[in-house]
Symmetry: C2
Subunit: 342 residues, 2 copies
């Protein structure tokens, strides 16, 4: 493998010339990594279809319901190591935070665009997938018919009603991704459409997005063969930080909530504040891998507020999202008010 170029820029010599043609609506004071990325990586072929679906969804709510809209991102993105993909790098995330949060947003009157890793947890279905039960363990045979096992039927009816209510009111749009490239392009496209809603749009970015990726230009076509050498060296580049672009250009008047997941408690708050200073968005929700279902911290440039489940709540299986999401909505309502006053 040839030695690595020192910076991301220099590995794409033709990126400069392409910028003006392809992203003419952005002010180009300097060549940003984000531009280089989009100029050197192709959009997914289905992006036009997704854009049409989102537009229809948003227009429906503008015309018919007046609902606020939240984009919830959920699950981990992959980084393929081959073009005919056999191997890829993945980020650990079942999608629990995103799927659970989406349910509470729906119940509290939001329309939800759920941008999720394919086959990760979905709102409502999450209660029955990715468990140690297999699908058919919920079923039983009675009178020559397949039926829901009575042990699960009552609770399932409650969940099914909520799910059907979300479907029937056209309040939930599921948009899948697999690779980090699909995620970035889809996020950009959705942001463009959501920007119509101005401050009434909320970004709730719970997906675990890869920090590193393998540029398309370095990707081998076929499956990497193991015999040719004893070891495999993978040189990954840093994924450009798209949050600033989202804040500044894609949807500049929306409220943006990002997540910070760490395993080391000593650096959590510092890193959350660092992100706020860097991107100038509204809220970072910090959490530690080990305790993420019991406590999170809301960090703004003004203060930090811990949200913790009590022992009693933990005993009763209260979901922390049932407390988090009303607080996020409160902050969003204040954001909308502050924008109306301007």
């Amino acid at each position: 493998m040839p030695p690595l170029p020192k910076s991301f820029h220099t590995s794409y010599p033709d990126a400069d010339s392409a910028i003006d043609r392809r992203i003419p609506d952005f002010p180009i004071a300097q060549l940003l990594d984000e531009d280089v990325y989009f100029n050197t990586h192709k959009p997914p072929t289905y992006l036009g279809e997704i854009e049409a679906e989102i537009s229809e969804f948003i227009d429906y709510h503008i015309k018919n319901t007046g609902k606020k809209v939240v984009l919830v991102t959920s699950g981990g993105t992959t980084v393929p190591l081959e073009n005919n993909t056999v191997r890829f790098i993945d980020n650990f995330s079942a999608g629990t935070r995103g799927a659970t949060s989406a349910e509470y947003f729906l119940e509290l009157g939001y329309a939800v665009v759920f941008l999720h890793r394919e086959f990760s947890l979905l709102p409502y279905s999450r209660h029955y997938s990715h468990t140690t039960n297999c699908f058919l363990d919920y079923m039983t045979e009675a009178n020559n018919r397949v039926e829901i096992n009575p042990n699960f039927a009552d609770e399932m009816l409650v969940v099914l009603r909520k799910y059907n209510a979300a479907k029937e009111s056209n309040s939930l749009l599921l948009v899948p991704f697999t690779t980090v490239n699909q995620y970035l392009y889809t996020l950009k496209t959705i942001s463009g459409v959501l920007s119509k809603l101005e401050s009434r749009a909320l970004f709730f970015l719970a997906a675990a997005v890869s920090d590193f990726f393998l540029p398309h230009s370095r990707m081998p076509e076929h499956k990497i063969q193991s015999q040719t050498s004893g070891t495999l060296i993978v040189n990954l580049e840093q994924v450009p930080k798209f949050l600033s672009r989202l804040v500044d250009n894609w949807a500049p008047t929306a409220m943006i909530v990002s997540f910070k997941l760490e395993t080391d408690s000593l650096i959590l708050i510092k890193k959350a504040i660092g992100a706020l200073e860097r991107y100038q968005h509204q809220l970072v929700i910090g959490n530690l891998l080990q305790t993420r279902k019991k406590e999170v911290v809301f960090v703004t440039l003004k203060d930090e507020n811990w949200v913790r489940l009590t022992e009693e709540q933990i005993g009763k299986n209260v979901e922390i999202e049932s407390i988090m999401i009303p607080k996020v909505i409160e902050a969003h309502d204040q954001w909308i008010k502050s924008k109306q006053n301007n």
Copy 2:
């Protein structure tokens, strides 16, 4: 990062001395990669429990049913890049081949140990998971009760009956893995127990096992931080080839079927023959990523036989495993006979 050692051996200076103490029952003519691997990587903590379960399962069938037993491996293994795992390398595999094959083995009278990637497709449940339908789309509400949607009910009853028959006859044992380390240790343990059955044991190795891995000694403890440098370089070592150990030591009289998946048709047969010559096992089933659901090739050192679906069969959604598995069983029966004659 320091330069890579030239060979796997030299990166573990203390491996030699450890071999004699920990694997005393293997003849040690030379230091094998496999031994180094097991001496430098810890077994999963739950391995004892799995061994007990498998032993109970095998003893049950020896005493009560006299069934032949197949180990079906299925799904892709992961390679963690951090100890508190946030990132990992994965192999693309939904587990379709393994889950489908397991059903046909069960129907044709085998007891099945299904060693599978957690959350990959399972026998029977596969018909309802990983589809574009979400779990709750199979349900409907009628008379204030949750019921199976009538569109799916008849077919689901057929599948449920087969699943329940497998459960009630104790013929299906599900054993999960996630990482390549868990896979290798569990395969070794299961092989030891299955070797009791001698030629009546069949190994059907359909899992997509990583060719490369990150040795434990090089793994960082916490999440890799992205700010520290612009790029990430991952140095991976080749996973030792365990198939020869399986053939020679772990279960030397069992029949072993391995798979070869390629994307390039020109090298498929050559690589299948190469594997047979190297490991001296009985059968390689070759397939191409692009056509794997329509054609496979049975390769032995004597001949190659293609199994192909006809256009008519493809139109009727015939699964190629319904033709493959009876052929594998035929070969297994011949293997058993040949061993009895010895």
